[in-house]
């Protein structure tokens, strides 16, 4: 098990538990989508995994070692587990994009040649590699570009676990698709990803498993088709359903657990043409 949370309880005040006796096992290379109502504890979960909130009770284990124990090697952990915050501007402070990305790895043992190459490759990965953009201040970028820069700052360290807090909020269609492609690409390299999102369309498309949270607990930890095909459950927990499922239910189209748009349109056209021929 790469990452495990055992009976973790976190609270900001004595009255309210944000994570309540929380248990989770994460296998290497899987993509977890985390969803649930606002205030259900999703961001706190990521921050606790990242080492920001010492639990009152329980353990956060990374490769079987408790990350909150005094003797734990925090320095190497910080390089292996990277988090991209909800608001990218909260994590910028350098004067240009290249320096911002360099900051994370400049204290590593990489030679300056390797460092430069790594930064250039990362800039290419996130599509910020034209000369004019590289010279810009991180704060002069558009919302979508900021998201990609924040992702680049995490990716340059080649983390084993990537934690993403609503990476698509405020992003337009093409920005969203760019980030989805980047995530699909790094997933094939074996990176474990935990991503908080409210978007059922995106989660259904890219996540291996969906964790549904409510009041600091896991209500469901399942593959996307099982979570999202239960209309009543999705409505009760306020997590929404992908458009393809909503439309398929309404139009009585059988998707056979393949909720992609391509499958939906093929099945719908087949059904309509069949009716036409009758």
């Amino acid at each position: 098990m790469e990452l495990e949370l055992r009976n973790v309880t976190v609270s900001y005040s004595s009255a309210e538990k944000i994570l309540d006796n929380f248990n989770l096992e994460v296998n290497k290379g899987l993509f977890f989508g985390i969803t649930g109502k606002s205030g259900s504890g999703k961001t706190t979960l990521l921050e606790t995994i990242c080492g920001f909130h010492k639990p009152e009770m329980g353990q956060v284990l990374f490769n079987n070692q408790n990350i909150y124990e005094g003797k734990f090697d925090t320095v190497s952990f910080r390089k292996k587990v990277q988090m991209v915050f909800q608001f990218p501007e909260n994590q910028f402070f350098e004067t240009d994009i290249r320096k911002e990305i360099e900051f994370g790895i400049k204290n590593t043992t990489l030679s300056s040649e390797d460092l430069n190459r790594r930064v250039t490759e990362t800039l290419q990965t996130v599509g910020l590699n034209d000369n004019e953009t590289e010279e810009l201040s991180p704060f002069a970028l558009s919302g979508g570009q900021k998201r990609r820069l924040a992702l680049a700052c995490a990716l340059v360290l080649q983390p084993e676990i990537l934690l993403l807090d609503e990476p698509f909020s405020g992003l337009d269609n093409s920005g969203q698709n760019q980030i989805i492609k980047i995530l699909q690409n790094i997933k094939t390299k074996g990176t474990t990803i935990l991503m908080v999102s409210h978007d059922p369309n995106v989660l259904c498309e890219i996540a291996d498993r969906i964790i549904v949270m409510n009041d600091g607990r896991i209500i469901k930890n399942e593959i996307p088709p099982i979570v999202y095909s239960d209309k009543q459950f999705c409505s009760q927990l306020g997590i929404g359903q992908p458009d393809t499922i909503t439309a398929a239910n309404l139009l009585d189209v059988n998707l056979n657990n393949d909720f992609t748009y391509e499958n939906f349109i093929t099945k719908l056209a087949e059904k309509l043409l069949l009716k036409n021929n009758d």
């Binding site: 109502k37 205030g39 409210h198 306020g238 309404l250």
Partner: protein, 273 residues
């Protein structure tokens, strides 16, 4: 009749890099107008110019016929307009939610005896009743967005701007925000929404579509959101039902009219049978 009028407005942060170029539009009172465009298209810049948060390079902006650049223009705008920013953390000034809302009330010279009632009513509107004493730092992203909206609603401005104000809300939260905006419109408030997300603007009375630093079309939500080519041009996601309509057409199945929502799609398919 117009509340906001922009005439030949251009803006650039740096020389030769226009963010918006020679745009003209007017916004009607008591309606929801949405400015739709992809990231970096200049949407936020437009509302910052209207609110005099950025200096105008070229052109004129009028609010209720008051010139923004006139002597008392800014003072007038501050009284008339409220904005909920994209990042709620950018607009909080106090650590406790109640104090944050009261800060705005004090600055609008609202008597202190009314503050508690104003706070209570504003929090009720955004489903945060009982959160008066909460530390803002302990709120979730979605709760912060609603809290930021409460701070503005308490001021009871006539013109309200929402800059991607629902981007972090859960699906139910987005529906609640849409209902709240419609309710405000029914109270005769003028609403300006800024978004790149079609779900946020589908209930708008009018949509202004921005692309390439210019307005490429404007019209009712139906007119703009079913204009497949323009949406593609502007890099905006195609509504699910519109995409299905287009793809069925390619497969030789023609619906009578292009649906905007999944419910309308079902109705069209029902008619087809």
């Amino acid at each position: 009749m117009t509340v906001i009028r922009a005439s030949d407005v251009s803006f650039q942060y740096r020389e030769n890099k226009k963010i918006i170029e020679n745009i003209n539009f007017s916004i009607e009172p008591g309606k929801i107008t949405a400015i739709l465009g992809k990231n970096g298209s200049g949407k936020t810049t437009i509302i910052r110019l209207i609110l005099a948060l950025l200096p105008l390079n070229e052109g004129k902006i009028y609010i209720n016929n008051v010139d923004l650049q006139s002597k008392d223009g800014i003072k007038y705008i501050r009284k008339q307009c409220g904005i909920v920013f994209q990042n709620p953390d950018n607009q909080f000034v106090s650590p406790i939610l109640e104090d944050d809302i009261k800060f705005g009330l004090s600055n609008h010279c609202i008597p202190e005896s009314l503050h508690s009632d104003c706070v209570k009513s504003a929090l009720e509107k955004v489903n945060l009743s009982g959160f008066e004493k909460r530390k803002i730092s302990t709120l979730s992203g979605g709760q912060k967005q609603r809290a930021a909206a409460a701070g503005i609603l308490a001021l009871d401005n006539n013109i309200l701007f929402f800059d991607e104000a629902g981007s972090m809300l859960d699906p139910n939260g987005k529906i609640e925000l849409r209902k709240l905006i419609e309710k405000l419109r029914n109270q005769n408030k003028t609403i300006v929404l800024v978004s790149q997300n079609i779900d946020d603007v589908i209930t708008a009375d009018r949509i202004i579509l921005i692309s390439g630093h210019k307005i490429i079309c404007s019209g009712s939500a139906r007119e703009v959101l079913t204009d497949y080519e323009k949406l593609i041009d502007a890099g905006i996601q195609i509504p699910f039902a519109v995409r299905v309509y287009k793809d069925l057409l390619q497969k030789g199945i023609k619906l009578k009219k292009c649906p905007l929502t999944i419910d309308e799609l079902a109705e069209e398919l029902w008619n087809l049978n």
